[in-house]
Structures are given as C-alpha cells and as structure tokens.
C-alpha cells in the first residue's frame, strides 16, 4: 500500500490551525470529508436542522497533493471529476490533533491580549512560544485509496504519532441546508466577538428559542432575544452610538444586495445601523413590513459558540425562507508563525471560513413559505 502513490497528501507545519478550524464544528461526533483539488471540506450536521462546514483551503498547508486515480467509477461521471467523500469520527480526529504540541508549556488557548474584548484567536504565537522551536514539526494527512483509512501523522522531536481513522461510506443523503443566495434579505457583518458575547449573555437564562430581529428603519436595528426558558425573556440590542447619530436625520436606507456575500463589507456604512456592524443590509420583502424577525432553536445556535469565539468576523445572512447562515472568518495571520514557516510556505494571510446553517423555527401564524423547506 505504501508503494503506491496516495490519492491525497497534505502537510501542515501548524496542526493548530487545523484544530482551531475543525473544533468549530465539533458539535457532532462524525464528519463528512470531501477531498478536492482546492482543499478539504469537513461538514457536520445534526438532524438536518443545523449544519457546520469547514473548508480548509490548500493554502493552509505547506504542501498539498491530490492525485485523482484514473480509474473512474460510473458515479463520478457527472462532473468528470473524482472527489473522495467519506465519513470519519470527528471527535477522534480532534483528539488526535490535540496530541500535537501536547507538551507545550503554555496553554495554546490562553488569550494573548487580555485587555481586548475579542476572545483572541488561539495564539499562533506569543511572547511565550518560540516559533523557531516549531520548525521540526509537521502534520501530514494522507488518504491512500478508496476505502483506506485517513491517516494523520504528527511528527515532533523524537516522537511520531500515526493515527488511522477508519473511513465510513458517506450515506448518500448528505445534503446541504439550502440557502437561497438570490433571496437574501438580511446581511450583517460584524466582529464575531459581539455575537459571541450576546449569545453567551442570553444563554445564561437558558432560553429555548433565539429571535433575531432586524430593521433598517427603526430602532432597535438589530436585536437578539431569548425566550421560552424557565426565566424571563431577555434581549440584547445592538444600539447606535450616541455621538455618531446625533444630527443625522433618520432616513430610510435601502440597498439591493449583491448575491455573492463576499467582501463588499467596507463599501459604505449605513447610517441607520448598529455601531458594531461593518455591514448592515436589511431589505425585507414587502410582505414582512420593515422588520425581519425569525426564530431559531437556541440550542442549535449555541453549537456555533466555539466558532464565534475563534473567529474574527461573522457574516449573518438570512434568506426569504428564514434559513440562517453564519459565516465565520478565522484569520490565522495575526501571529508571527507564518513568517518563519519553513520551505517558504505561503505567507499570504491564512484565512479559514466556517459556515453554519440553521433551519428556522416555524412560527405558527406566519409559517408560509418555510414549511416546504426540507421537502
């Protein structure tokens, strides 16, 4: 087996990036893995109502080789491409990655900027870690052939750990929760820490539902409230800072959304927007009035807490049917590790995106258009 060229080999000098990204979707015990020529996609889901997805771009790795075999199955003919897809134990994968650097003296997750509001990224480097010592480390992911285990090899000084994760066949029903990109009615970009703080705050009263309420015309422009718990209802409102909106006459602000949700964030700042948001676009369809409100199971939203804590930014999107997408951006490049990466690896910013999608709770009164979502 070792003689043959493996289908897939990827080497990373920093398993911590992989760990940080993957633990965001660690809410499920198993994950579906798909290997493509651009990167690896890990997805986890629960009961088809919440889905978490991590795409590890090949730029995150120091070397990335994908050799699709020439022998093709009939099933692969539709795209003429072969992308191995299988299920592995996510908890085992995470536990294995944790072995890497297990005897580092400093806790890797200790916040390195104590004064900052933002729960900082797991420190890629700080005054107490010496990146030079990390040079002789590597983490290799390998997949030899169809049906073989996914092997993870961690090499450190004197120790080599090999973990072979049994790969299970993906059950064909794996399906993404559909987000209608052409029917996005809400798009909010802000620092992920704000969302994390809000959800943590609301979680204190253990509510059953989270209601997101957004309006471009009247205050509160953005409010998250938790309800249905044993205690009273609580609400977090993202307010407008006093100074910035003193003499700005309230004027309705509308903008047609671009269907690709990418970096048009800094284009223009809406006047009627909470201070914390970088982008605040709310355009409800006329049937809804000026305010969008949608409820989600709080326990499901909480599954994204780890991603909220690890990420720098979050893009909150909602479509006409109420499907909520939280797209998190984790930027690994605020440490110095990238600069000393051996072999002249990419110094360009290493960014990972973690996507969460949630199916809304049906409102008894106006459930129109949502009921057929999963059919």
């Amino acid at each position: 087996m070792a003689d043959a060229e493996p289908i897939f080999t990827a080497v990373s000098s920093n398993a911590h990036h992989l760990y940080t990204s993957l633990q965001c979707i660690g809410f499920a015990p198993k994950a579906t893995v798909q290997i493509t020529s651009d990167g690896i996609r890990f997805s986890a889901e629960e009961s088809r109502v919440v889905q978490g997805l991590v795409f590890l771009d090949k730029a995150l790795f120091t070397s990335y080789t994908f050799n699709p075999p020439n022998t093709r199955n009939e099933e692969d003919q539709e795209n003429n491409s072969y992308n191995p897809c299988f299920v592995v134990s996510l908890s085992a994968l995470l536990e294995t990655l944790k072995i890497f650097g297990v005897n580092d003296s400093s806790a890797p997750n200790a916040p390195n900027r104590a004064t900052s509001v933002q729960p900082s990224n797991p420190a890629t480097s700080s005054a107490f870690t010496t990146p030079a010592l990390l040079l002789d480390r590597s983490c290799t992911l390998q997949y030899f052939q169809d049906g073989s285990p996914l092997s993870i090899t961690l090499t450190e000084t004197g120790v080599k750990t090999t973990c072979e994760l049994t790969t299970y066949e993906a059950d064909g029903g794996e399906m993404d929760i559909p987000l209608q990109r052409d029917a996005i009615i809400m798009k909010i970009i802000m620092r992920s820490a704000w969302l994390h703080n809000a959800v943590t705050e609301l979680g204190a009263t253990s509510p059953t539902a989270l209601k997101i309420s957004a309006s471009a015309q009247e205050e509160p422009f953005l409010a998250l409230s938790g309800s249905g718990g044993p205690f009273s209802e609580s609400t977090v409102e993202f307010s407008v800072e006093q100074g910035s909106s003193t003499n700005a006459a309230p004027q309705p602000y509308h903008k047609v959304l671009a269907d690709d949700g990418t970096s048009r964030a800094r284009a223009k700042r809406a006047k009627l927007a909470p201070t914390v948001t970088e982008t605040f676009l709310v355009s409800p369809p006329s049937s809804m009035g000026s305010r969008i409100t949608q409820s989600y199971r709080f326990a499901l939203i909480q599954k994204a807490t780890r991603a909220m804590a690890a990420a720098n930014k979050v893009s909150i999107r909602g479509d006409r049917q109420g499907v909520l997408s939280l797209q998190f951006m984790i930027d690994f490049d605020n440490g110095a590790t990238g600069n000393v990466r051996p072999g002249g690896g990419s110094i360009c910013s290493a960014v990972t995106f973690v996507d969460f999608r949630f199916v809304p709770l049906l409102d008894e009164e106006d459930g129109e258009g949502v009921g057929n979502l999963l059919e």
């Binding site: 085992a92 536990e95 072995i99 080599k160 750990t161």
Partner: protein, 337 residues
C-alpha cells in the same frame, strides 16, 4: 518502639506520597537503619516497591529509630500523609514522629512555618480604640510564626503480618529501555485512553458490562524505540519514540557470558524491522496514567519489558541516579490479548 526525624526534602516527599496515593489507599512504610521503604500492594493494578536512603527525605542527624528488631513497620494511609505534607510546603522546619493518643498510634507531623501578616500587627487586629497612639514601628507587615501539628493515624504492623509479602520476581526482561519524558508520555497516553473510551462510548454498548478502561499496547525494542498504541473500531493510533537509550547492563554484576545469554541480547540481535524484535505488554490505560504520575518527581525511568507478561519500571529519583539504593520499582502485569 520509637521513631522521629526532621524532614529535609519536603517537596520530594510530598510528590512521592502524591504519586503513591494515586495507586493505593494504604502504604506499608518500613523504617530501617539507613533505609526507608514504601510499598503499595493494591488488590488490583500496579504494585510499587520503593526504597530510599534515609537522607533522601529525612535529616540523617535527627533520624532516630528504636525498636527491638531494629525495624519499624507501619501501615500508613498515604493520602492522609500526603495532605499533611502539603501543609508543610514552605515550612521552616518540619518534624515527624511516631506517637500515641490513647491506644491509637499516630504519625505526628509538626510544621513550623513563618508568614508575613497583611495587617499592621502580628494578629491582624486593628486597634481602633487607640487612635494616633500606635508607635511607628508597629505599622507595616510583620513576620508571624505558625505551628501546625498534623496527626495521621497509623497501624503498627507485626513482623508476622508482613512475612508473606515479597517483592514479585520475574524472568529476565526481553527489552530494557529508558523512557522519554514521563510528562509527555502521560499526556499522550491520556489522549489515547480518552480516544478509546470515546470510541467505545459512541459505538454503543456492544460489549455491555465490559466497563473496564481501555487497554494500551506498549512495546519496545532493543534499538531505542518505544511504541504506544491503541486500536478501536473507528481508529488505530500509535506513537513511536525513537533514539531512546537501551542502558547497558552493569558488567560488574554479570559476567560477559551471562550477559550474552540474556533474552535482551537475543532481542538486540534481531533487526528493528522485525516485529519479533518488539517486546509487548498490554496495560490498563487508567492504571498506567496513575503510574506515570510519578513523572512529577522528574526521574529517570528504565522500563523492562517481559514480552506478554509484565512491565517493570525502575524509577530513579533525580540526584540518586548512581545510588543503587534509591529506587521505586513498579510492577505492572500484562493483560491477555
């Protein structure tokens, strides 16, 4: 029967009792002239036979022992001893002695500690009723002496009670090797154990009542490699350490021909690619984790593998590497496959 001594190396003694207490509740403490022994024989799991020179933990000049047979044998609740010693951290002096309260024999630990008060006088009492009269030298923190006496009830063991206790004997080991950092070994072992526990938990109760902790497979060869492995349905994981040392045997104790006949020399002759060159034992993951807690003493550890039978660890405390007489010996049985 009398015994008393000043403690000299409280930190070491504390750590020693901590790692002993993780393996068993009671410990047989045998005090002799010049040597102290600690032995733990649990119902199940790893046995420890430790032997320390008196000066490793006691101050030799103050070590006073009086008994008819010249030996004092005590059954000590090692957890209680450990907790008592913890209060001696940072002590100026500490003394331990065998005494009696009524009919109960005790080990009394007397700790003299000094600390700085936060307040302006030794007792931390504010004298508000005498405003302005405080002499200037009374302001500011002061040193305060604290006397702590900890009493640990023990049992004095009669010679007949310990006659039947013998250190286990094993055949000559197949492989002997110096272990890597126990701290690292412990953290990796714990991850493995956790991985295997998680895996069995998620795969449902197929095995039903087999609530035992997972078995780690530990193996080593005479070419400086140590392997730790575990396998479950969902994964197979192994860590391999290389470039470790297989310590040479003391030629002063064995003749050249005797050395050549040892199983370890036969194992050395085998190529390191050969699976037969690996001596293997299967050990209980949780028990192994407790054994490795001795790593806090940062010792040198020689592991002796008796293939499919037992693992014996010789733990040498730092500073006593050459001293033959300061050694903790752990006997771990191998489980059947």
């Amino acid at each position: 029967m009398r015994f008393r001594s000043q403690l000299t190396n409280i930190a070491t003694f504390t750590k020693l009792t901590a790692s002993l207490s993780s393996l068993g509740k009671v410990c047989w403490m045998r005090l002799e002239d010049g040597v102290v022994r600690f032995t733990i024989i649990p119902d199940q799991g790893t046995q420890v036979w430790a032997q320390l020179p008196v000066d490793a933990i006691f101050e030799e000049n103050t070590y006073f022992l009086e008994a008819n047979s010249g030996v004092v044998n005590l059954e000590v609740p090692v957890g209680a001893l450990h907790r008592a010693l913890r209060s001696a951290a940072g002590a100026t002096t500490a003394q331990i002695r065998l005494t009696k309260k009524g009919n109960i024999p005790l080990l009394a630990l007397t700790v003299l500690a000094s600390s700085w008060t936060a307040g302006s006088n030794a007792l931390g009492v504010t004298d508000a009723d005498r405003p302005g009269q405080g002499p200037p030298e009374r302001s500011g923190p002061r040193e305060r002496e604290t006397l702590i006496v900890q009493e640990i009830p023990v049992k004095v063991l009669h010679e007949s009670a310990i006659d039947g206790l013998h250190e286990p004997r094993c055949r000559d080991p197949d492989v002997h090797i110096i272990l890597p950092s126990l701290i690292q070994l412990k953290s990796i072992s714990e991850r493995f154990t956790k991985l295997a526990t998680d895996a069995t938990a998620t795969s449902g109760s197929v095995t039903g009542l087999g609530a035992s902790s997972p078995r780690l497979e530990l193996s080593a060869n005479m070419h400086g490699s140590l392997r730790l492995a575990i396998a479950t349905d969902s994964l197979r994981i192994s860590s391999v350490w290389t470039d470790l040392v297989n310590p040479p045997l003391d030629p002063g104790q064995l003749s050249q021909t005797e050395i050549e006949q040892l199983p370890s020399e036969r194992m050395r002759a085998l190529s390191d690619n050969d699976e037969a060159a690996w001596a293997k034992v299967r050990i209980d993951g949780k028990d192994w984790g407790r054994v490795l807690s001795v790593g806090r003493l940062s010792p040198k550890v020689v592991a002796c593998f008796v293939h499919e039978t037992a693992l014996i660890l010789y733990v040498y405390l730092p500073g006593s590497w050459n001293g033959e007489d300061s050694c903790l010996t752990y006997y771990i049985n191998s489980y059947a496959a």
